[in-house]
């Protein structure tokens, strides 16, 4: 997994609640059997004026000038500012793959959907939750000031605004450690292989019908 410790980046404000994973990456792009290459189709239905399909050259597609990520001042944005319940709906991990592939490293919102939250961290994205009032204020600042950048430090769990304001955020220590060290959590779990095997044996004795070969 990609490591994350500190990141400074341009902020793009996406002023819309309940952004679902169908919107983040529409289903026609889920047919890929790869993990990469989803960036050009991130928010496809909002970004382009026509209907997208896999394998197409996006360079010739008409862009929706009203969509935030198409505006010149947000080119190169790597911090996404979003509204409540971001990432709801389908469990598709293609959503964080697309966000990451596009270039986002941090998403800030008042709340995230559970499965998306999990998936994002597993792909090196840092998700930060602030209360509605704080997010509102960041929206106002990011919209008012061109070139608005945030400095995000995972180690100290702080976001520093261009005005020098410091905002502290919560993140659970397991996810934090995995991100900081870029750890492969399968490898970590397999270190507990003996505990798993012991559990499995007790489980099989207590409830043999859960194991098919038990007959």
């Amino acid at each position: 997994m990609r490591q994350f410790d500190r990141h400074q980046g341009l902020v793009a404000p996406m002023d819309r609640a309940n952004v679902d994973t169908d919107l983040i990456i529409p289903k026609q792009f889920l047919k890929s059997i790869k993990r990469t290459g989803f960036g050009p189709n991130l928010f496809d239905e909002l970004r382009y004026l026509d209907e997208g399909y896999p394998g197409q050259d996006v360079a010739n597609r008409p862009l929706n000038p009203d969509f935030v990520l198409n505006q010149s001042r947000y080119q190169g944005a790597s911090v996404l500012l979003a509204r409540r319940n971001f990432g709801c709906g389908s469990s598709r991990e293609h959503a964080p793959w697309a966000l990451e592939d596009f270039g986002f490293r941090v998403i800030i919102a008042p709340s995230f959907a559970d499965i998306f939250y999990n998936n994002a961290f597993k792909n090196g994205l840092l998700l930060i939750t602030f209360d509605e009032a704080t997010v509102d204020r960041l929206f106002q600042e990011a919209e008012a000031e061109e070139g608005y950048r945030l400095d995000v430090d995972l180690e100290s769990q702080q976001v520093i605004t261009p005005h020098g304001e410091t905002l502290t955020f919560e993140v659970d220590s397991f996810r934090k450690q995995c991100l900081l060290e870029g750890l492969d959590d399968i490898g970590l779990t397999l270190k507990d292989g003996d505990a798993i095997a012991d559990f499995e044996q007790r489980h099989r004795q207590a409830r043999p019908w859960l194991f098919r070969q038990a007959g």
Binding site: D15, R16, A17, N18, D20, D22, L23, P26, K27, Q28, L30, K31, S32, I33, R35, E45, E51, P54, G55, R83, R84, N85, C88, G89, S90, S91, R92, E93, S111, A113, D114, I115, N118, N119, K122, N123, D172, S173, F174, Q177, D184, D185, I186, T189, L190, D192, G193, A195, I196, F199, E200, R207, P208, W209, L210, F211, R212, Q213, A214, G215
Partner: protein, 487 residues
């Protein structure tokens, strides 16, 4: 000490290890796979040189990309016209073969939507942990199993370790007491719940659905409700085990053998919340007050009773909510104050893991019987959830009822629920759909989805617009019902 909730019991039964950082390792009993969210997980295993921890726990079937017309299905994978879809299904077949995982392939009679197949086979059992790379895995909680959707990285994690790293959820009880009105179904209950608590109301919680109205439901109805727990933000939906659960499981292929059945049943009976269990939150609904529901917007919480009108954004919550409602009305092409029953429809879809089981098809067929789909409906399709559902429906003659009424009778799969195959809405088309998501573009680019129950969808197909299924004599077969002429 307070008693345990059903969720607490399931959690502690599968707890391998608690870590200092507050996470826990949870053992997984059943892992279901489909073609969309598994290829990258298998690839990850291969790259790392890892093997599946335990093979007999896995069961796979392709569902999202499979075509639903007989002609294409006759050719197996070769009949999948879109080459990208075909490769995805073939990749699942190859991965299952090379890793030794049991799979019901495209033309196996047991193939179907993974959340229909698991319970139907008895592969979903009370007391299990069930996961799948699909958010509607919540469905399986209807059996008193701890079931939730996972991402592709977690699919790989489960394959390699038989465990997941989890945080314990909070407990939410949704109590639905009283008796449902005639023609009001499980789908209406769950839409009403989402309308009440919102699409984020269950975030961080496992929802246990309880109360007399839930107890009265069949397993199919309970699955419909748990299926949509995720639409209320909860990864997990649960219903306690009772006789209905146990009866459903008897003699299913994966169910416990005679040798273990008594022990298993005794064990399953413990899978209820203790009378003194404490829930972090309780929400109550009066079943008798629930009307047939119709979504008018682009989120499942944008829902109303069929007798209502399209709402005014100005009357909705805070600014963010108001914006959401305005945007939804624009996308859906609806006017403030318009009667829900005045929404004209172009297509009707009866299917999906929410409502494609035998009981759903029976419900819809009762409304369709002896009637005709309105001329203004371009396509009304019924897509059974599995090959076995299809077979049973045909044995009961339901296919004939649908065909005579002018519905298409298709082969099993996800179909127009998310339109990854050829079944989709055109831009601007309105669809009465028994599926679970009405997000923008979900059923096709620019398509407009209205979520309803199977009976409501069938009635809408006959009328050409939404109608209150209770005026249609729901639950009774129609002979010559003047409502139909009038519609």
């Amino acid at each position: 000490m307070a008693g345990q909730t059903l969720y607490d019991k399931l959690w502690s039964r599968h707890l391998v290890k608690e870590r200092d950082d507050g996470t826990a390792l949870i053992y997984i009993d059943r892992h279901l796979l489909h073609e969309v969210t598994s290829p990258q997980a298998f690839e990850g295993l291969r790259l790392a040189g890892r093997k599946p921890w335990r093979l007999d726990t896995n069961l796979a079937t392709p569902d999202h990309n499979v075509p639903t017309t007989l002609k294409e299905r006759a050719e197996g994978n070769a009949g999948i016209v879109d080459p990208v879809s075909r490769i995805q299904v073939e990749t699942l077949d190859d991965n299952c073969t090379s890793f030794g995982i049991e799979e019901f392939r495209i033309n196996d009679a047991r193939q179907g939507i993974v959340h229909v197949v698991g319970p139907e086979q008895g592969a979903t059992q009370p007391g299990m942990t069930v996961v799948c790379g699909d958010s509607h895995t919540a469905t399986h909680g209807a059996f008193g199993a701890l079931a939730h959707g996972i991402g592709t990285s977690e699919v790989e994690h489960v394959l390699a370790t038989q465990c997941l790293i989890q945080h314990k959820m909070k407990n939410l009880q949704v109590r639905v007491e009283g008796e449902l009105g005639l023609g009001v179904t499980a789908k209406d209950i769950v839409l009403a719940v989402i309308g009440k608590i919102g699409t984020a109301g269950g975030t961080g919680y496992a929802i246990e659905f309880a109360g007399s109205a839930i107890r009265e439901l069949s397993m199919e109805g309970r699955m419909t409700i748990c299926n949509m727990a995720i639409e209320a933000g909860a990864r997990v939906g649960l219903v306690a085990v009772d006789d209905t659960t146990i009866e459903y499981l008897r003699r299913r292929p994966f169910a416990p053998s005679e040798k273990y059945l008594d022990a298993a049943v005794a064990d399953w009976r413990e899978l209820v919340s203790d009378a003194d269990a404490a829930f972090d939150k309780v929400v109550e609904l009066d079943a008798a007050a629930i009307e047939p529901q119709v979504t008018w917007g682009t989120s499942p919480e944008m829902v109303a009773g069929v007798g209502a009108q399209v709402p005014d954004p100005a009357a909705a919550g805070d600014e963010t909510v108001q914006q959401g409602v305005s945007r939804a009305l624009e996308y859906m092409g609806l006017q403030v104050g318009q009667q829900i029953t005045d929404i004209q429809l172009d297509k009707v879809f009866i299917g999906s893991c929410t409502n494609s089981r035998i009981e759903d098809l029976r419900e819809a067929s009762r409304v369709a019987k002896g009637r005709k789909v309105a001329d203004t409906i371009q396509l009304a399709m019924v897509v059974p959830g599995s090959g076995l559902v299809k077979r049973q429906a045909e044995e009961e003659g339901l296919d004939k009822i649908f065909l005579e009424a002018g519905f298409e009778w298709r082969e099993p799969g996800c179909s127009m629920c998310l339109a990854m195959n050829a079944d989709k809405l055109g831009t601007g088309e309105h669809c009465a759909s028994t599926s679970n998501r009405n997000f923008e573009g979900r059923q096709g680019y620019g398509g407009r989805t209205h979520l309803v129950s199977p009976a409501m969808a069938a009635a809408a197909a006959i009328a050409g617009h939404f109608v209150d299924v209770r005026d249609f004599g729901a639950g009774r077969a129609a002979n010559d019902d003047s409502q139909v002429q009038e519609a």
